[in-house]
Structures are given as structure tokens and as C-alpha cells.
């Protein structure tokens, strides 16, 4: 599935009447089976952009389109949230089944699909735990299983690992890549971490500070499967440096401006 974002703009109106432009004239295309990272300093509107693609935030101008083949009953998108957004009153299994319920799948198929994705994410034995009984890493595994279970045409990930500790994050990134390299679902992956973006993605779309605009589209030339050893690869370092050069001044401005 191809995603076309066409001159997208988003203006937030604050209560006292003045408007904040979060996104301005954002145009890009995500190719089928592409892993695209959206990268930018804090306050660049990258999460807003992802929300707009998910249909969770109305855009102020422009449009978003999906183009391509879709299986019957296949949802356009599924989202993995930064704060996990698991339902505390549902067990891991019931959380994974939520999207399947909304798709109207019969009980037996729901159970089977949920089990498959729970196993795939290494959650076997934890399916009857409530979210508060799971570690952060396990919770996000549930979040990913929930999104993959509905088999979306495009997977949206909003800083999925930024709430995790550094070690867990590294492991989860590798796991996600291993799954994606088999399934090849189109992914739009929001992050503020340059290394993470370069390590994971086929292409990094660099956004500017508010108002968010597309600064550059940086292809990543590293082969797949990606391995940890590539973190020292000259091509990896060069790409990361190039991106840092692009957003350094932006990040500094954000630091002084104090806008979160």
C-alpha cells in the first residue's frame, strides 16, 4: 500500500485565539513495503502527522490518500503508541483481540489470530496478565502484537520504544526488524532518535522545527537484514552525520526556544 501525503497543513487554535501552525505544506509519498522513518526535533509535529495519517486528527488543509490493493476487511492502518495505550482492564490476550473484535471476526478466529501474534512477540505464558503486571518492554510487545494482529495495510508507529530503557529498546528494535523483514508491511515510524531512524528505515524523512516542513528525504543505503554490527559501518555513520547536520540548528533553536 502506498501512502500519499499531499500539502498537508495543521493549525491548532488555542483558546486565547492565536493559532499555532504544527504542520505546513507537508508533501511526501511512502512506497509500498517501504520502512519510512519520520524524524525531527521535539515539537516538529511528527506525531501530529502520524495521527493525521491514522485518521485520528483532522488536517487543516491538504489531504492524505492510500493507493493500492487491499484485502477484504483489511484495515488501512494500525497504530503502535508511544505510551503503549493498552486497556488496563483487558489482559494481554484481550488487548490483542480488541482490533479483531472491531473487525467483526468470529470468536474462534480471533483467538487463533491473537495466539499467533502473542507467540510471535514472545508473549507466550503472559497472555492472561493485565498490563500493570507486565514490564514496559512486554507491554509494548502487546502493543505491537495488537497492531500486527489486524494485518493493516500500513503500520504506524509513534516513537514506540522511547518509553523503554536503552537495552530493551535495542532488543525490541532488532525484533521488530526481524518481523518486518519477513512481512514487509509498509511502516511509517516516528522517532526523534537519529541512530534509531537510520538503523531501522529504508529512508528518513527529516522534518523541521515548528511549523513542521519536510527538510530532506535521506535514503539509507545499508543492506538488509540489518545487524548491530552495521552501527559502526561508515555508510551508517555518514548518513547519521548528514541528518544531524540538517537538524542540529533546529534542535538548538528548540532548546533555546523551550518549545516542547
Amino acid at each position: 500500500m502506498k501512502v500519499i501525503v499531499d500539502r498537508l497543513g495543521k493549525i491548532y487554535r488555542e483558546r486565547r485565539g492565536h493559532a499555532v501552525t504544527a504542520l505546513e505544506d507537508v508533501t511526501f509519498t511512502v512506497a509500498p513495503e517501504e520502512f519510512l522513518a519520520l524524524l525531527g526535533p521535539s515539537g516538529c509535529g511528527k506525531s501530529t502527522l502520524l495521527g493525521a495519517i491514522a485518521g485520528l486528527l483532522p488536517a487543516s488543509s491538504g489531504g492524505i490518500f492510500f493507493e493500492g490493493e487491499r484485502r477484504a476487511g483489511q484495515p488501512l492502518t494500525a497504530t503502535v503508541f508511544q505510551e503503549f495505550a493498552l486497556f488496563p482492564w483487558r489482559t494481554a490476550r484481550a488487548n490483542v483481540e480488541l482490533g479483531l473484535e472491531e473487525l467483526g471476526l468470529p470468536g474462534a478466529e480471533r483467538t487463533a489470530r491473537a495466539r499467533r501474534h502473542i507467540e510471535q512477540m514472545g508473549l507466550g505464558g503472559f497472555e492472561d496478565r493485565y498490563p500493570h503486571q507486565l514490564s514496559g518492554g512486554m507491554r509494548q510487545r502487546v502493543g505491537i502484537a495488537r497492531a500486527l494482529a489486524v494485518d493493516p495495510a500500513v503500520l504506524l508507529m509513534d516513537e514506540p520504544f522511547s518509553a523503554l530503557d536503552a537495552q530493551t529498546r535495542t532488543l525490541m528494535m532488532e525484533e521488530l526488524l526481524a518481523i518486518w523483514e519477513r512481512a514487509r508491511t509498509t511502516i511509517v515510524y516516528v522517532t526523534h532518535n537519529i541512530q534509531e531512524a537510520v538503523f531501522m528505515a529504508d529512508r528518513v524523512l527529516v522534518l523541521s522545527r515548528r511549523p513542521g516542513r519536510v527538510l530532506a528525504s535521506v535514503p539509507v543505503a545499508l543492506p538488509r537484514p540489518r545487524t548491530e554490527a552495521m552501527l559502526g559501518d561508515p555508510s551508517f555513520v555518514a548518513t547519521a552525520d548528514r541528518i544531524w547536520g540538517l537538524i542540529r540548528s533546529q534542535a538548538q533553536a528548540a532548546l533555546v526556544g523551550g518549545q516542547g
Binding site: L56, T79, L86, F87, W89, L98
Partner: protein, 270 residues
């Protein structure tokens, strides 16, 4: 003239938070209750207070036993429990339903909140004469006043709970295809449950209060009747049986709700 000379020494680190620790004092809790009753009994035995003003605990216990044997206690208890449970369930169900509807739909909120704000401060006892006028002197007016008393804490708490729903969870449900009804059923209703239980506990107290008030008008049975009737006959021991019964009802209903809450909300942390 000179500063005190510094001397090298080794200082162990002590736990400075010791005074912050709050102990449970489990034994003391029991002892306080038992002690108060014993003190009361001793006070009566010493003859410092006439039994007419303050009957002794053992006397109250004996009277309760006699009433149990004669079946009098069961009659009053059954009559009161029927009114209490009926009023509690009706008022509670209505309160929860109104709270959800007002919390979810903006039109219902615009219509409902001023009405609730205007009627909530009325002491429900003041409405009893009106309810008797409308529903008659019989059981319906008694149940209705209890239901009204339970309705408000539940409507207000459920409404507050519905408004405090984590917006991230609502977005997550919508992201996975939930429509309005799914969001209400799968996100809003479960997240209001802790507030609903807080409301039920408040409502249980109010229900007991209104029960006694309602049972002081034109009834032949019930704990409120028992208390008022015993007072008219200067049967202080019997009156005390009624009061102890009310205390027990209050404590037991609270425990029951706490136990029910644990079953209904198994995902609560801690």
C-alpha cells in the same frame, strides 16, 4: 579566635526516614474497639449512669437475643433490607445510566448538568412529604426517597469518571476501528468503574440515613420504626439494639462493596 580544627572520623549512614514509617497497629485496632465496649460495660456496672439512659452492652446483647428468638428482629430487618436493597438498586442503576449518558453526550451534558446541580443540594428528606403525596404513604415513597439519595452520588461520580477517561485510550480504541458504541462499552464504562464504586460506598451511607428517616413515618416494621417506637416506650435497650443493627448494616454493606469491587475490578494495581 581560630576555627575548630577539622578531625577525621568515620560516620555511619543512618536511616533518616524511620519516623516517616506508618505502622498498621493491627492489635491496637481490635483493642480499641473491644476496650471501648468493655469500658462502656464497666461504666454501667459501676452504676454511674442509669440503665434507662445508657443500657449496658451485655444487656443490649441479651435483648437482641430475645428479639431474635421471638422473631421480632427478623421482621424489622427483613422490612428494612427490602426497602434498602430495592432503593439502592433502582437509584444506583439510574444514577450510573444518567452519569454515563451525561458524561458521553454533549447534549445530555448541557441538559443534565444544570438540572443535577439544582436538585443535588436538596436534602432528600425534605422531599419525603412530597413523595408521600405523589406515591402514597406505602412502600413506594420509602423506596423512592432511598433511590433518590443513592441516585445523586452515583450520577455525579459516574459522570466525573466518564469525563476523566484517558483520551489516549479513546484514541487507541478508535485507531483499532471502534465506533461510538464500542468506545462507550469498551473504554468509558470500564474506566468509570472505580468512580462508580466510590459512589456506591457513598450511596450506601446515604441509603441508611434515608431508610431510618422514612421508617419513622407511617410504618409498622423496620429498623427506623423499631428505634422510634422503642424511644416512645422508653425501652432504651431495644433502641440500642436498633442502633447497633444500623451500625452493623453500615459496616457490612461497606465490606460487601469492597469485596465486590475486588471481583469486578481485578486489574486494579496493588
Amino acid at each position: 579566635m581560630s576555627m575548630p580544627r577539622a578531625s577525621a572520623s568515620r560516620v555511619p549512614v543512618e536511616d533518616r526516614t524511620r519516623f516517616l514509617v506508618r505502622r498498621n497497629h493491627r492489635a491496637l485496632r481490635v483493642a480499641a474497639l473491644v476496650g471501648a465496649v468493655v469500658l462502656w460495660e464497666l461504666l454501667c456496672r459501676a452504676g454511674w449512669v442509669p440503665a434507662l439512659f445508657l443500657p449496658s452492652p451485655l444487656g443490649v446483647l441479651r435483648e437482641a437475643r430475645d428479639m431474635l428468638v421471638s422473631g421480632e428482629l427478623a421482621v424489622h430487618l427483613a422490612a428494612s433490607l427490602k426497602r434498602l436493597i430495592l432503593g439502592f438498586v433502582l437509584g444506583g442503576a439510574a444514577g450510573i445510566a444518567v452519569g454515563i449518558v451525561v458524561g458521553v453526550f454533549s447534549v445530555a451534558e448541557a441538559v443534565g448538568t444544570p438540572l443535577i446541580a439544582a436538585t443535588f443540594p436538596i436534602p432528600k428528606i425534605a422531599l419525603l412529604p412530597l413523595l408521600i403525596l405523589w406515591l402514597g404513604i406505602g412502600e413506594p415513597s420509602k423506596v423512592a426517597v432511598i433511590a433518590l439519595g443513592v441516585f445523586f452520588p452515583l450520577a455525579l461520580n459516574t459522570y466525573a469518571g466518564a469525563r476523566q477517561v484517558d483520551p489516549v485510550l479513546v484514541r487507541a480504541a478508535v485507531a483499532f476501528g471502534a465506533g461510538r458504541w464500542s468506545v462507550i462499552r469498551k473504554v468509558i464504562v470500564p474506566s468509570t468503574l472505580p468512580m462508580v464504586f466510590a459512589g456506591l460506598k457513598l450511596g450506601a451511607g446515604t441509603a441508611l440515613l434515608l431508610l431510618v428517616a422514612a421508617e419513622m413515618i407511617a410504618v409498622e416494621s423496620g429498623i427506623g420504626f423499631l428505634v422510634l417506637n422503642a424511644a416512645n416506650l422508653m425501652a432504651t435497650t431495644k433502641l440500642m439494639v436498633g442502633i447497633v443493627l444500623l451500625s452493623a448494616l453500615g459496616v457490612l454493606s461497606h465490606w460487601g462493596l469492597v469485596a465486590l469491587e475486588r471481583v469486578v475490578i481485578p486489574w486494579r494495581e496493588g
